[in-house]
């Protein structure tokens, strides 16, 4: 299975055209189920009341922020080990989507925290770790576009994605360690709420819906990146006057 042929925009277009109906369709179906069961067809939580509905977007967003980062690290490894152009382009394409979901997770976390804990931001171990993950996304995107040559940016940020992937568990541990040290008695220690079965359906539907959505958008964004690389190469070629060997 030679992955290299998908690096050319034309081949990748055929692949994404084949996959698009499944990914976009899956996203539409699961998100519809999620919205319906999340907002309308599930009971309020006996303890948190209606605010539990925020969890149906907050938790899937948290899942997406980690899922996309895992993809970023895998793409990074592929870019560094096999120097595969598709892996280099994929990193740059999906990082903003991961950052957007992480931002969404932070804001919905804050919206959930306000009624629960009375403040917009709580240095809860989980929320703090998501905040740090958000910084790592910003660092990845900044490093990726900090070079004139796209390949250089892609490979440098690939190294950062891997260094980040190794460090994130340790950072998570140190934040938990820090949190337990400074556990203010005043804020009730909100453990993960008891998730009774009726909540599982919307939670699961939204998470799967987001994942399908991410795959669909990734296909679109990777195609766009491949085209941009091609455009860049054409402009370089025009300047240098050297011929381009293979056409799209």
């Amino acid at each position: 299975m030679n992955w290299h042929r998908y690096a050319s925009p034309a081949n990748f277009k055929r692949l994404s055209d084949r996959l698009m109906p499944w990914t976009a369709g899956g996203a539409a179906v699961f998100l519809a189920i999620g919205v319906w069961t999340g907002l309308f067809a599930s009971p309020a939580d006996y303890q948190q009341g209606e605010t539990v509905r925020i969890m149906y977007v907050h938790v899937p967003a948290a899942w997406m922020s980690m899922f996309v980062y895992a993809n970023l690290a895998v793409a990074g490894a592929a870019a560094l080990v096999w120097r595969h152009p598709l892996a280099e382009v994929a990193g740059r394409a999906i990082a903003p989507v991961g950052a957007a979901f992480t931002f969404l997770c932070l804001v919905t976390g804050s919206l959930w925290g306000k009624p629960m804990w009375g403040t917009w931001w709580v240095w809860d171990a989980r929320l703090t770790s998501v905040l740090i993950l958000f910084f790592v996304y910003l660092a990845y995107m900044a490093l990726n576009s900090a070079f004139d040559e796209p390949e250089r940016g892609a490979r440098a940020s690939a190294v950062l994605a891997l260094v980040g992937a190794i460090n994130l568990p340790i950072i998570k541990f140190s934040v938990d360690w820090w949190n337990t040290l400074h556990q203010p008695a005043s804020i009730t220690r909100l453990d993960a709420p008891a998730v009774d079965p009726s909540m599982l359906v919307p939670l699961f539907a939204m998470a799967v819906g987001f994942t399908f959505f991410f795959l669909a958008v990734a296909l679109v964004r990777i195609r766009a990146e491949l085209l941009e690389r091609r455009l860049e190469a054409l402009r370089h070629a025009r300047v240098a006057g050297s011929t381009i060997v293979e056409r799209a």
Binding site: F135, A146, F147, D148, R152, A156, I170, I171
Partner: protein
């Protein structure tokens, strides 16, 4: 081995010949700390409460500032090619650069830190542990900083790219170090935090050579 040693000696000689660089880092360290005093107010109790955190955050930022030129200066004058093309392993040379940077930046910071801690009214029983945490923690700052510096060689100028890359990696060092000193001040044992701090240092020591060397090889393509 003597290639790495030669590199450390050269960098120390360069630092001694331009002491201004080290002195400006130290000046930043002291000035930034005093800014916190202006911000928080002069009452000793108020300052003592946050002294450890301030000293460590400002030391961390001072270390970060000194790393910006660690490899970029080599790339600018063409020395980077010679380092990458040296028969000795680039991973070893990266550690040599980190050691030289630590000696020329972190060590002076550690020497000056008691003065800054005094200005910030750090409780007396905290000084020994503060110095110990600085000794154990600053190597990690130099090591992870070197990865950031290597990654940003050749990047477009300006902005806090290095800070954005490196600061998240500094969080565990800051947490364990401050926790150790505050435990000591509270009369508890700082040992668990110190072990974690040292353990994190060993972790940094293992991954930095490979990550930074890979980044430098990319930079000199």
């Amino acid at each position: 081995m003597n290639a790495a040693l030669a590199l450390v000696v050269r960098d120390l000689r360069l630092a001694l010949r331009t002491p201004a660089e080290t002195l400006t880092i130290l000046a930043f360290f002291v000035i930034a700390a005093t800014l916190f005093a202006f911000g928080i107010g002069p009452e000793p109790q108020a300052l003592a409460r946050v002294a450890t955190g301030i000293v460590w955050v400002v030391a961390l930022l001072a270390c970060l500032i000194s790393l910006d030129r660690l490899f970029q200066s080599e790339a600018d004058d063409g020395s980077l090619d010679q380092l990458v093309l040296a028969p000795a392993s680039l991973e070893l040379l990266v550690l040599a650069k980190c050691l030289a940077q630590w000696l020329t930046t972190a060590l002076p910071l550690i020497v000056v830190s008691p003065i800054v801690a005094t200005m910030l009214q750090l409780p007396a029983q905290g000084y020994a542990t503060l110095l110990l945490t600085l000794l154990l923690g600053t190597p990690s700052l130099s090591l992870f900083g070197a990865i950031g510096a290597a990654l940003s060689v050749g990047a477009r100028k300006g902005g806090a790219l290095l800070a954005l890359i490196v600061l998240p990696l500094y969080i565990p060092v800051l947490i364990f170090a401050v926790a150790a000193v505050e435990a000591q001040i509270a009369g508890l044992s700082p040992r668990p935090h110190l072990f974690l701090l040292a353990g994190f240092g060993v972790f940094a020591l293992t991954i930095t050579p490979f990550a930074a060397a890979a980044a430098l090889r990319q930079a000199s393509e």
